[in-house]
């Protein structure tokens, strides 16, 4: 907390804050909880649409799927804890995002993880990568929610600061919706779940809201420890409470623990709350009031229960074998009063903790180096296309993700129609004709070169990724991972990115229903590339009976490219990174009109063609190679220009189909090849045996992890 912020607290209370009060303000007003540097900019997001049921500000966004069904979605980061302790950092990230979603009354049905590390050649990065993947698997598999997709990126900028984002989707019936409100006076606060300990104290302020240096490993005690078994029981218990209509509101305990779970629901409801810390079930003795209020012990929920239903709530907790305690009572007025060992330790306006946090309009400046990067010519891609392709497929960010996703249970619930390793995942909603498609997309290099247009392109790419499963875009959540906001260049990148996401969402007519901001992603003064991650939910209604799959290409089928023609721009592409190890030039800006047309066309074609695949990392050549690998078949491709083979110009996809079966719009499509034989032939380059493609692709991550 800064001196100015301390002054604000003095002004609010009209006196010196007590130690527990200071603790509460310091965590609630931390960057992580208060969004004090970003709030002014986040207002730019379009957040309204007729199908939005709950927009940003609650624990998760909620949208209407029709026929009484709702979807709840949220994305969160656990970047800093994952660097300090990769297994627990990633695991508790999963636990936290699940609670955000089942807090809304939804059953969590799927998870997506977006993880970014430094190059795997460095043993430290292999340790972090392995730890994070194990943590996600260990928690997600045991808690019983499938992890059905995500993305992986490697870049030196993440070596000192890996990014671990996680998105969760839940579904619920409209009547089950629960909000994070304390209800009306007389309502009782019941703390459910794991006992409170000293773990994670100050996680939000110490870890998530500060930068890293050599001493960061000493912050390990601030990382929470997860228990997926407790979370599983907590999910089932809470869902039963909602089913029976026993709660007025619910708030999960995440960052800022009890401080947040008491002040936010009371603030939202405009009521006061008396809290007795002596009632809190603890697993350590001698915890002080500030420790109890700041602890980020996992797997806890606060339920606000009408007095006459408390016994029933406690009985359900007992049935599911979770601990519970009545810890507070809702009062008239707006004061949050906290007692500990018979004394009042805090007495503050409840809403002030959440609403009166400072808002900073931090200075912004366009980086001086940007024009230089744009002016630097992009080197031409010389050499044999087959060699270039094999080098790209051997890259861990482009190669098979099986090493990762086969460690995740991605099939539980029997709803994963299209799973990991595809453009977007497709989850069926049983008992309906609906399918929910989700794609999560980030690209730090693209956004480093152009934060505004790069961010727009992420939204358009995600929209295309859900469209190839037959879904139309419905809503976006975003996770904005940036460097130190006290640097004007970082704030400028942030503002530009928000503008880019907003513009693309407006063009597609979809709202942003929630998000997360992670600042201070820097180590020793070096900021990460601006890395917004977009999670886009699409609805396929009806879902295609036989959705397109990469594995459905057969001998004799034609390969068509759909979308604007590529101009061969290699700025910011995987080819520029892998072959030249450079990041220069200006990437092709998005074309909103083309984007809209192509997304609509893809969603329609998904009902009629066997293979539809977004052209993204690695361009046309990699897209076709991925079809060959999944279908275990060769192809002949006429294109001879390396620029056009490996360019990642936006709004393009390939369709693979039987000749003369589907009419494609002229001008927006062109035939680029044929599925044929056992080898992939790119123009006049040497044929590559499909077995070699497969070996290279599948070995990209395992061969590095073995090293």
């Amino acid at each position: 907390m800064t001196d100015e912020e301390h002054e604000s607290v003095l002004g609010l209370l009209g006196r010196d804050p007590r130690p527990a009060e200071l603790a509460m303000y310091s965590v609630m007003w931390s960057e992580h909880c208060s969004y004090k540097s970003s709030r002014a900019h986040l207002r730019r997001f379009p957040t309204e649409a007729p199908w939005v049921v709950v927009g940003p500000g609650e624990n998760a966004g909620v949208v209407d799927l029709g026929d009484g069904w709702l979807a709840a979605l949220r994305i969160e980061s656990h970047n800093h804890p994952s660097f300090v302790e990769p297994y627990q950092g990633a695991a508790t990230g999963v636990g936290g995002i699940l609670r955000d979603v089942f807090t809304m009354g939804a059953r969590p049905i799927a998870l997506w993880d977006q993880i970014r590390f430094g190059p795997l050649e460095d043993p430290k990065n292999r340790y972090l990568f392995n730890g994070v993947v194990s943590g996600i698997a260990g928690y997600g598999n045991a808690v019983g929610v499938p992890t059905v997709g995500g993305e992986i990126e490697f870049d030196p900028c993440y070596s000192g600061n890996p990014l671990v984002n996680v998105m969760c989707l839940g579904i619920l019936r409209r009547e089950q919706l629960v909000l994070g409100t304390a209800g009306s006076p007389g309502t009782v606060a019941v703390l459910l779940g794991r006992a409170t300990g000293r773990d994670g104290i100050g996680g939000a302020s110490v870890l998530a809201s500060a930068s890293f240096d050599d001493e960061s490993q000493e912050k390990r005690p601030s990382v929470q420890v997860g228990d997926p078994f407790e979370e599983k029981k907590l999910i089932e218990a809470c869902l039963e409470l909602y089913d029976r209509g026993l709660v007025a509101g619910v708030q999960d305990l995440g960052a800022a623990g009890l401080s947040c779970a008491t002040s936010e629901p009371a603030g939202r409801a405009g009521v006061g709350l008396d809290v007795d810390l002596d009632s809190v079930h603890v697993r350590e003795t001698g915890m002080t009031a500030p420790e109890l209020l700041m602890s980020e012990s996992q797997e806890r929920m606060m339920a606000f229960v009408p007095t006459d239903l408390v016994d029933e709530v406690l009985a359900i907790a007992t049935k599911w074998e979770i601990d519970s305690a009545v810890v507070g009572t809702v009062r008239v007025g707006g004061t949050l009063t906290v007692r500990h060992q018979g004394e009042i330790v805090a007495e503050v306006p409840a809403a002030s903790l959440a609403d009166d946090a400072p808002i900073y309009d931090r200075p912004m400046r366009r980086p001086d180096w940007l024009d230089g990067l744009w002016a630097t010519p992009v080197r031409i891609l010389e050499g044999d296309a087959a060699d270039i392709l094999l080098r790209l497929l051997d890259d861990p960010a482009l190669g098979s993700t099986a090493w990762v996703h086969e460690q995740y249970d991605h099939m539980l619930f029997l709803n994963t129609v299209v799973g990991p390793g595809s453009d977007g995942a497709l989850i069926r909603v049983r008992g309906t004709d609906k399918g929910l498609a989700v794609s999560t997309d980030g690209n730090g290099r693209l956004c480093q070169l152009d934060p505004r247009d790069g961010s727009s392109r992420l939204v358009y790419e995600a929209a295309l990724n859900v469209a190839v499963t037959g879904a139309r875009p419905l809503a976006v959540v975003d996770n904005l991972n940036f460097g130190n906001p006290e640097k004007p260049e970082v704030m400028w990148q942030f503002k530009e990115s928000v503008e880019g996401i907003s513009a693309a969402c407006e063009m597609l007519g979809i709202p942003v229903v929630g998000g997360n901001v992670s600042f201070y992603n820097e180590t020793d003064g070096i900021d990460i590339h601006p890395t917004p991650v977009v999670g886009l939910l699409g609805l396929a209604d009806p879902m295609p009976g036989t959705p397109p799959r990469l594995s459905r290409a057969e001998e004799g089928m034609e390969i068509w490219e759909i979308g604007p023609e590529a101009n061969g721009n290699l700025s910011g592409t995987a080819a520029q990174r892998v072959i030249h190890d450079e990041l220069t030039g200006r990437p092709t800006p998005p074309d909103p009109d083309a984007a809209e047309k192509v997304v609509a066309l893809a969603a329609d074609l998904a009902h009629r063609v066997p293979v539809l695949h977004d052209i993204s990392d690695g361009g046309l050549a990699v897209a076709i190679a991925e079809v060959c690998i999944a279908s275990q078949i060769g192809a002949n491709v006429a294109e001879t220009d390396n620029g056009r083979l490996f360019s990642e110009d936006p709004h393009r996809l390939i369709a693979v189909l039987e000749p003369h079966t589907v009419e494609l719009p002229e001008g927006l499509s062109r035939k680029v090849g044929t599925i044929r034989g056992d080898s992939l032939v790119l123009g006049s380059s040497d044929p590559i045996d499909v077995r070699r493609l497969i070996e290279t692709f599948e070995g990209a991550i395992p061969r590095r992890m073995a090293g």
Binding site: A137, N141, A142, K232, D409, M411, L414, V417, R428
Partner: protein
């Protein structure tokens, strides 16, 4: 013909098993692990998941759950008892099946489709399949590596290939009577071609056919 699907705290495949059996015409009821009377049921399934968190050793605590006395009774009476994944681990811990399940050879969780071969069709799981029949269903486990130092287990399903180091590539194991079977891959995840395979149906149909009036 009623089948009980046991739910321990931490079990997570119970709904999938119930759905798959129901879709094949089975009559299924979920029963909580504290249940002490399964007399109304003709067979029982212990589904996958992480019973009691599995922090100690898979199945080590679940075997002491109250419901297990009834599972043991049914096994002794020759009624169909099927353990899938974590349920297999529980049956081994309870001594209803020989051997034990230890960590996969590569010390990593494995979730993917695997190919199996039916090597013995005299069991409640394989009774409707042909010997030599190929079956493709998902594996989903960390401790799926079956070891049987006493070499008393009767293998009914074998992996084609060696995904996890399991002894004799065993994927499914039966007791002498064939009425108690543990299987590591998930037949309930293989009942719908839209999700990748319908091969698990013949196994679950075998289970349902093996139910006889109590």
């Amino acid at each position: 013909m009623r089948t009980a699907v046991v739910v321990f705290p931490g079990t997570n495949c119970e709904q999938d098993v119930a759905h798959a059996l129901s879709s094949l015409g089975g009559e299924v009821e979920l029963v909580w692990h504290r249940e002490t009377d399964l007399s109304g049921f003709d067979g029982v399934v212990l589904p996958g998941g992480f019973a009691h968190g599995d922090y100690l050793r898979t199945g080590a605590i679940a075997r002491f759950s109250p419901v297990m006395a009834e599972v043991e009774r049914m096994a002794a009476q020759g009624l169909p008892v099927l353990g899938i994944c974590n349920g297999f681990q529980v049956l081994c811990e309870a001594g209803l099946l020989p051997g034990a399940l230890i960590a996969n050879r590569d010390l990593a969780f494995i979730c993917r489709f695997v190919d199996l071969e039916v090597v013995d069709n005299d069991s409640i799981l394989t009774g409707s399949a042909e010997i030599g029949q190929r079956i493709r269903i998902p594996l989903n486990s960390y401790e799926g590596n079956w070891v049987d130092p006493g070499k008393t287990g009767r293998i009914v399903l074998r992996y084609l290939g060696d995904p996890n180091g399991s002894q004799h590539a065993a994927a499914g194991v039966a007791n002498d009577g064939g009425n108690v079977v543990g299987v590591m891959p998930h037949p309930e995840r293989g009942v719908d071609e839209l999700l990748g395979s319908g091969d698990g149906r013949v196994l679950l149909e075998g289970f349902l056919h093996s139910l006889v009036p109590a």
